[in-house]
């Protein structure tokens, strides 16, 4: 028999006291003071803004004009744009209680798949739109496989996407025969190296994806369901949500983002390569987590992810400007992740207290 203390409450409970304690618990839950500021969503974003500002200050002090110039800022943003698009997709998967380790490999696979098509005989007949469509379809298709494995195959997300990470990268190498493939399709490079209002198209793509992501997460049934199944899949199922189908859609969404990122990467580097997107999975997860999305699912923030991406991109840039090694950069990155997560634990609402 399950005789928990609460069970016994039924017969012996002292109503007045129960209510008093509930009220006390409530007061405790009401945030107050500085901690409250940090606890709230706005507070977290404020922390991210401060971190970014601090990094920029370090950049200006150490690099001066080389850091602060418009050109350099655009470089940072262009760098951030590709990983940013992947991170937006990652935000959805993680908010929905999953994880996708295959994003880097999917970027590589999408890139070589479409460049291979375009380097074959009929290359010159190809409109650049085919490159884009192929990349998106490959990304979404691989995401679909991930999603089916997780939702219907019962494979834990970590393992399913780990397997995809290995296979997709391998397939990318097979397709490209380990060669970088230069894009020769007329119009493609022209189309994507354009500036709009003096800002690179790549940056615009990131902005558009982020805005759509924000709307999708915060204003639609899709976003609400994502939060619900990430927070409590069983309760969501019993509430009548089609948890499996939704899970598949989440992985398709992140795959699609990988396809978009592949197109952006091809246009920036003018090549498709099986080595594209190395360690993107770690960069994306790191950006999502320091942004404030709960790794366990149930809470997600697009704005936080955007800041997370910008912080890491700025960090890289500051290190490059000061001629510091990639290794030092990686070390600092790890440090930032840990500090950010510890701060979050410190200031986030303690469940159940």
């Amino acid at each position: 028999m399950s005789e928990t203390p609460t069970d016994a409450a039924v017969t012996q409970g002292d109503t007045a006291r129960v209510e008093k304690e509930a009220a006390a618990a409530e007061r405790k839950a009401e945030p107050s003071g500085f901690g409250a500021l940090l606890r709230g969503g706005a507070g977290h974003n404020l922390g991210l803004v401060l971190a970014l500002a601090l990094l920029a200050l370090v950049g200006v002090l150490s690099g001066g004009e080389r850091f602060g110039s418009v050109d350099n800022v655009m470089t940072i943003l262009r760098l951030a744009a590709v990983i940013g698009v992947v991170s937006i997709g990652m935000t959805f998967v993680i908010t929905g209680g999953g994880i996708d380790l295959s994003v880097g490999a999917l970027v590589a696979l999408s890139s070589v798949w479409c460049t291979t098509l375009s380097t074959q005989a009929m290359a010159n007949d190809y409109h650049w739109i085919f490159i884009v469509t192929t990349a998106l379809l490959v990304g979404a298709g691989a995401g679909l496989i991930n999603g089916l494995l997780v939702a219907y195959g019962g494979v834990v997300p970590f393992i399913a996407t780990l397997a995809m990470m290995a296979s997709a990268r391998g397939l990318a190498e097979i397709i490209s025969a380990r060669k970088t493939q230069i894009v020769s399709v007329p119009g493609f490079t022209d189309a994507f190296s354009r500036d709009i209002f003096g800002i690179s198209l790549l940056i615009w793509i990131f902005v558009v994806v982020a805005v759509i992501g924000w709307i999708l997460l915060n204003r639609t049934t899709f976003g609400r369901r994502t939060l619900a199944i990430g927070g409590n899949p069983e309760a969501s199922r019993l509430a009548g949500i089609n948890v499996r189908r939704h899970t598949v859609l989440l992985y398709v969404l992140v795959g699609l983002c990988c396809g978009i990122a592949a197109v952006m990467l091809i246009s920036r580097t003018t090549v498709g390569s099986a080595t594209h997107g190395q360690l993107y999975e770690l960069d994306a997860i790191a950006a999502v987590v320091i942004g404030g999305t709960l790794l366990a699912g149930g809470r997600g923030t697009i704005v936080g992810t955007v800041f997370g991406v910008l912080i890491f991109a700025t960090l890289s840039n500051v290190f490059v400007i000061n001629n510091l090694s990639i290794s030092a950069q990686a070390f600092t990155k790890g440090l930032i992740i840990i500090v950010a997560v510890l701060l979050q634990k410190r200031f986030s609402r303690q469940p159940g207290s």
Binding site: E3, T15, N232
Partner: protein, 520 residues
């Protein structure tokens, strides 16, 4: 009933000769939890070599008492004497060192370790960190022989054993600690008849060696077979202790267990019974599943049907199968004459069925999300245009409902986690009210709900029925089922053993049915 009669030692036939004074004596044990008095004065004395049975309904305090004894909880008041000496059992290890071992219903074994490794878990036989395997195996063989189960292989993985085999391993582990008092919490629940006979043989062997047993079971026939004396708990208090098993009639035991110190107020039933002539809203026929078989249920609009039975009798499984959360193995579920797709929650929800699940927090609610989101989660499409949610409309709808259900504190933007149990339950009900559901399935609707809020929930359920909802209520508390429902089905071991109007059956009759398992 006179308080705490103390029959003389000689009066009990199975009492071994050597049993002099009490091995364990507990007096006036009080245990409080925040806002709850779990034990309000429990007396218990257990003699060496006897089987002392502990009886009581759900919530009577049996489990809490066991946890006090095994030092999982510290009592707030009261005295524990061990062989006449006052003792304080501060940690589970301290209790174990005195020789008190508990075998819980959920066996706490590690499935991936062998029998021997489980038995010596935490006190491994080892020299400088290297385990002395052959010696351990040898000792396990001795223990198993003492239990009369030589056939259990010490080197098998515990996960590969049957529930009965695992229970033997638990007992062997207890004995490896030189146990003098063994507490068995519903040991027969997972066993078939032959295994129960085996268990009794082991128990008799142990008592012959002078080990005292505290035996908890709902099955009176078992208590008659194995017990020496009985202590009855009710509402956290001892109502009778030391009753000799052989001289106490069943009726007397049931009388002691029933009746309450606090009477709940149930809403009045409608004077005219819900139209039985009309077609039922919910109908199951020959429904079979995990732990039940051949359930024929008919629930009409405006009717509350209660399912009474012990935990594990299949009640919750029936509800979950109707709801599609479990797959039925045979039979059908129909709503308004239309058959539901098997094992599909979404089909059930679409047909107008709602469930307030037993585990409200893990199955019912999105704890960290706002009240309004918990209310609208099953009706999102109503508030969406082309996938875009109108959260203003959501809030307004949730506000209206929570106000009418008197959810306190008001405010639909606070996380559900911050609400009390009763108010959380109202949020779950609001979710289904929003869908205008036709059938409402309530599994333990007042678990974790305090006394004041219970009456509110009862009134609410009756109001829903009056508005034409067909309600099915499952509860471990017989009084609740009888007080709330129009019609009652008593479930025992997965089958209906009685069906009839709630007014024509009383608590002791229901207990009789579920404990004896006989068809009336």
């Amino acid at each position: 009933m006179t308080e705490t009669p103390q029959p003389s030692n000689d009066g009990v036939a199975r009492e071994p000769g050597g049993g002099g004074g009490a091995l364990l004596e507990m007096t006036g044990i009080v245990k409080r939890f925040p806002g709850v008095l779990a034990l309000g004065g429990v007396d218990l004395d257990v003699r060496a070599g006897e089987v002392h049975c502990l009886l009581g309904q759900n919530g009577a305090g049996k489990s809490t008492l066991i946890k006090v004894l095994s030092a999982a909880y510290q009592p707030d008041e009261g005295e524990i004497l061990w062989e006449g000496e006052p003792v304080r059992l501060t940690t589970p290890v301290a209790a174990m060192k005195r020789g008190i071992s508990t075998i819980y219903q959920e066996l706490d074994l590690v499935p991936g370790l062998t029998v021997t490794e489980n038995i010596f878990l935490g006190h491994e036989l080892a020299t400088a960190g290297f385990s002395r395997r052959s010696e351990a195996t040898q000792r396990v063989r001795t223990l198993l022989a003492r239990l009369g189960h030589r056939e259990v292989d010490p080197n098998r993985l515990v996960g590969d054993l049957s529930p009965a085999g695992q229970q033997i391993v638990s007992m062997a582990r207890a004995l490896s600690h030189d146990t003098r008092l063994l507490i068995l919490d519903e040991p027969s629940a997972v066993l078939d008849q032959e295994e129960v006979d085996n268990l009794f043989r082991v128990v008799r062997g142990l008592t012959a060696e002078g080990v005292a047993i505290i035996y908890i079971s709902h099955r009176l026939e078992e208590i008659r077979q194995i017990g020496d004396r009985i202590t009855v708990l009710k509402d956290g208090r001892t109502v009778a202790t030391g009753l000799p098993v052989e001289d106490t009639p069943t009726a007397e035991l049931i009388r002691l267990m029933t009746g309450r110190s606090i009477e709940y107020v149930f809403p009045e039933r409608p004077t005219t019974p819900p139209s039985r002539g009309t077609a039922p809203v919910l109908e199951t026929s020959g429904l079979c599943g995990d732990r039940f078989r051949d359930i024929d249920l008919r629930v009409h609009a405006g009717e509350i049907v209660g399912l009474a039975g012990l935990v594990g009798s299949g009640r919750s499984e029936i509800l979950e199968t109707i709801y599609g959360a479990r797959r039925s193995s045979a039979g059908t579920v129909s709503i308004d004459g239309r058959r539901l797709r098997r094992g599909s929650v979404r089909a059930a929800v679409a047909a107008g069925v709602g469930l307030a699940p037993e585990e409200r927090k893990s199955q019912g609610l999105l704890l960290d999300q706002a009240v309004y989101r918990n209310v609208t989660v099953s009706s999102m499409s109503r508030f969406a245009k082309a996938g875009f949610l109108d959260s203003g409309a959501e809030r307004r709808a949730a506000e209206e409902l929570t106000r009418s259900l008197d959810v306190r504190p008001a405010g639909v933007d606070r996380p559900v986690r911050n609400l009390s149990g009763g108010n959380q339950q109202k949020v779950v009900l609001a979710r289904w009210l929003l869908r205008d559901c036709k059938v409402l399935l309530l599994d333990e609707p007042t678990r974790g709900v305090d006394v004041g809020a219970r009456t509110e929930i009862y009134n609410l359920v009756r109001r829903l029925a009056d508005e034409g909802v067909a309600v099915v209520v499952v509860s471990s508390e017989v009084e609740e089922v009888l007080g709330l429902a129009d019609r009652v089905l008593v479930i025992s071991e997965g089958s209906v053993v009685h069906e009839g109007p709630a007014t024509e059956i009383d608590e002791s009759k229901v207990l009789d049915l579920v404990m004896e398992g006989e068809v009336a």
